[in-house]
Amino acid sequence: MTDTLVQFSTVAVYSAMAIYALAFIMFTLDLSRRVAVVAAPAAAEIAAASANGYTTVLEKDAPAEPKAKTPRYLRAAMALTVIAWVLHVGAAVFRGVAAGRVPWANMFEFTLTATAIIIGVFLAVQFWQDLRFIGAFVTGFVLIALGVATVNFYVDVVPLPPSLQSAWLVIHVFVASLGTGFFALGAALSVVQLLQARRAAGKAARLRFLDTLPAADKLENMAYRMIVVGFVFWTFTLIAGAIWANRAWGRYWGWDTKEVWTFIIWTIFAGYIHARATRGWRGSRSAWLAIIGFTAVVFNFTIVNLFFKGLHAYSGL
């Protein structure tokens, strides 16, 4: 029974990966195709908007997106992403049922579930903010993560060691994944923001698809909104982790390597939020902080888990 379910799960993961790959290609095609569609006025508008810098909130957002109907590639990419995501969630659920617990107790399972959450956040956010233009970034990132997880992190279903048998595993790890999802979107938007700022400064002339995307200051606002939500989840993760550590190890904070890195990430993003409110730090500098912060999240999950010694020995490897 368990074996069958695990096989279902594996098949679902690989199918999801194949479809994500297609979606990634479609998203990329969409970006490259946008160059052809773009109209001259849009570029002028952006230049005008960014010439003003970010000095005022009174500036109206320039409607940079051409009013044309959704490009075909983009619609296909979104549809594929949704299909892949359903399979992806199915894979996580099968894995969880097979193991008889939540599917995030080792690095393979955590990657599986966290990437599903990243895509889930990406899809959900579309309802109030059109972020499809970072689809290539998001599906590309998730594809790589799933690839590494299935090839390098895979472990068989094993029971939970006593230290992980806690409701806090469910809460702490799930909320951390949610936070990671929002940070990922924030980082993606910040990357586009940096590109956009370069283009506005007359560099990056070859990236003509940027003309179809929102201007740098609009991207900055979007990134900020993502990261702020991520930050709340991360703060909660930090506290939930401390409560759990207090029950499992008898102290709420012991500067264990994993705790250190969770703290570092929290501090970087607190810095990001301050940077946004500090004269001279808006714009590209705070975008870099967002990217550094997300890099630290990925670092915390991969390098710290695998190579740093500490109490959080749950990689299963």
């Binding site: 909130v57 068989d156 409560i243 029950r247 570092i264 810095g271 409110a277 730090w281």
Partner: protein, 534 residues
């Protein structure tokens, strides 16, 4: 420029809200101090210190720390003799209590206090102040909407005021306009957040100062008492006194591990640990209780955690006449997941010579091809204790404390095992063997288990939790409650019609402002029953 924002001096220096002229400090002594203080409590310094703190925390994750991994530190020093002394000088092995790390976070918190106090005062003032005058020109503000209507300007303004009040705005009527503001809770949340951070730091400090932690190994059938002498190791806080130790005892009746037996991928992996104990408070009746991983026992103001476990073989040693000279359990340190364990036994008195033993305990012994033993399962299916023995000077008499889990071989001669000519003694429970040189005999009497308990007393724990909850509450309030101003202006035209203008101003991130102003304009004009149009 008299922007509507400039009335707000509650923000720290360098806060991005509105352009602001830089003030030149007067450079006498007090001027310097004031200048320094302003710099320390500026946004830029707060940001700089935050990022510096993030960077300063990194080394401690790369190098083992004395607090969490003392053995790792010793190992690291042995492996890196070149750089270790330098790192030691730089306090990298104690990063989180080092002078430089402490300096950064203390500066940060001084900056924080210097930031929060004036802001709190200003916020109290703002709470009592009237919303600011309506700007002369609303056109350049956010969500600007113009409607025209017929009617009377004063009435339109009063209707707008009532509507705004119903939506939770503080309002003030200025001539033919109403000025409204809401979302003071945003700043309140921000202040609660920052103040609660201070609260967390202070209560963590208090907890560490007045609390204590101690470790103690307890073997099945034995008990520990919560007294200083009873601990194997004890770390008191700075302000600890003996009075903080509430006397109680914990006896370990049985320790019951459960190992995976079905899943071949995880054979022998522990799935549950239960310590069944009997606790006695002073003057109280003995009570049964259990301690599990993730389920500490709460007793006498302390939390008792189950941190480790292993085997403590009871070895009985007799002299040549058959008198028992040693008979007690020895907690053996587990070396791998199948609990192959190292045991150190020291018998300084009673035999013709001092005898030291290094034992290897295998709960389920299995021979390898070359004859050496391994343990293939953590439970006692085929328990074997294999012993090397030494005679000579155990080094216990020089008055220095020695490590019970290590045997210094400097002044000892091996008499059993390895090259000594006598093969290692292997005992199963109940087995007896003679010691060489007519020293006497040895018996493996039984193999009880031990647990290592971690006992914590932290009087400020709940306060830390309370402040942590306030941190989250303040954060959510400050990030998601929009603080906004809204203005409605009515102007009577010469032809008797009414021009209505609506606009808002975001204080901080406020994605919903445009929609909110537009919606308000709709409701207001509806309410007036006026015709809508530009």
């Amino acid at each position: 420029m008299s922007s509507p924002q400039s009335s707000d001096s509650s923000r720290p220096q360098g806060h991005f809200d509105a352009p602001e002229t830089i003030q030149q400090p007067k450079l006498n002594f007090v001027g310097y101090l004031r200048f320094f203080w302003r710099q320390l409590t500026s946004m830029r310094t707060a940001l700089f210190l935050l990022l510096l703190l993030a960077i300063a925390a990194i080394p401690g994750s790369l190098v083992p720390q004395v607090s969490s991994d003392p053995n790792g530190v010793i190992q690291y020093k042995a492996n890196n003799p070149g750089i270790a002394p330098i790192l030691d000088k730089l306090q990298v092995f104690t990063t989180y209590s080092s002078v430089w790390f402490s300096a950064i976070y203390l500066l940060l918190f001084i900056s924080l206090i210097g930031c929060v106090i004036p802001r709190t005062k200003h916020h109290f003032d703002a709470l009592r102040a009237r919303p600011p005058r309506t700007p002369a020109r609303l056109q350049r503000l956010e969500g600007f909407t113009a409607r025209s209507a017929t009617g009377d300007a004063a009435t339109a303004v009063l209707v707008a005021r009532d509507l705004l009040r119903k939506q939770g705005y503080r309002t003030e009527v200025y001539e033919d306009s109403v000025s409204a503001e809401r979302g003071y809770l945003r700043e309140t949340g921000n202040l609660v957040f920052h103040t609660a951070l201070i609260g967390v730091l202070v209560t963590v400090g208090i907890g560490g100062g007045f609390g204590y932690t101690g470790q103690r190994v307890v073997v099945e059938g034995y008990a520990m008492t919560n007294t200083l002498a009873s601990y194997d190791s004890f770390n008191p806080g700075r302000f600890f006194t003996d009075a903080a130790l509430e006397p109680y005892s914990i006896a370990l009746d049985t320790f019951v591990p459960t190992y995976e037996e079905q899943n071949l991928d995880a054979l022998g992996q522990p799935t549950d640990f239960v310590a069944n104990v009997t606790t006695t408070l002073r003057g109280g009746e003995p009570q049964k209780a259990t301690i599990k991983v993730n389920e500490p026992l709460n007793i006498g103001g302390t939390d008792v955690f189950l941190l480790g476990n292993g085997y403590a073989p009871v070895v009985t040693v007799r002299d040549p006449d058959g008198n028992v000279v040693f008979s007690q359990p020895t907690a053996c340190l587990p070396q791998d997941a199948n609990l192959r364990s190292n045991c150190i036994i020291k018998i300084p008195d009673g035999l013709a010579q001092q005898v030291g033993m290094i034992g290897f305990f295998y709960p389920t012994a299995a021979p390898m091809a070359d004859g050496t033993l391994i343990s293939s399962y953590p439970d006692t299916i085929n328990p074997v204790l294999s012993l090397f023995m030494y005679t000579g000077d155990l080094g216990l008499d020089n008055g220095q404390g020695t490590n019970a889990y290590a045997l210094s071989l400097d002044n000892l001669t091996q008499i059993v095992g390895a090259d000594s000519g006598t093969p290692a003694i292997q005992l199963r429970p109940g087995d007896k063997a003679d010691l060489p040189d007519g020293l006497g005999s040895i018996e493996l009497t039984s193999v009880p288990r031990f647990v290592s308990l971690d006992i914590h007393h932290d009087p400020a724990q709940l306060w830390v939790l309370l402040f942590a909850v306030l941190v989250v509450a303040g954060l959510v309030t400050s990030l998601f409650i929009p603080r906004r101003r809204v203005w409605v202006k009515a102007a009577q035209n010469d032809d008797g019609t009414l021009s209505l203008e609506y606009a808002g101003l975001a204080r901080g991130d406020d994605p919903g402002l445009d929609a909110a102003v537009a919606e308000f304009a709709d409701r207001h004009t509806d309410q007036l029953g006026l015709k809508v149009g530009p």
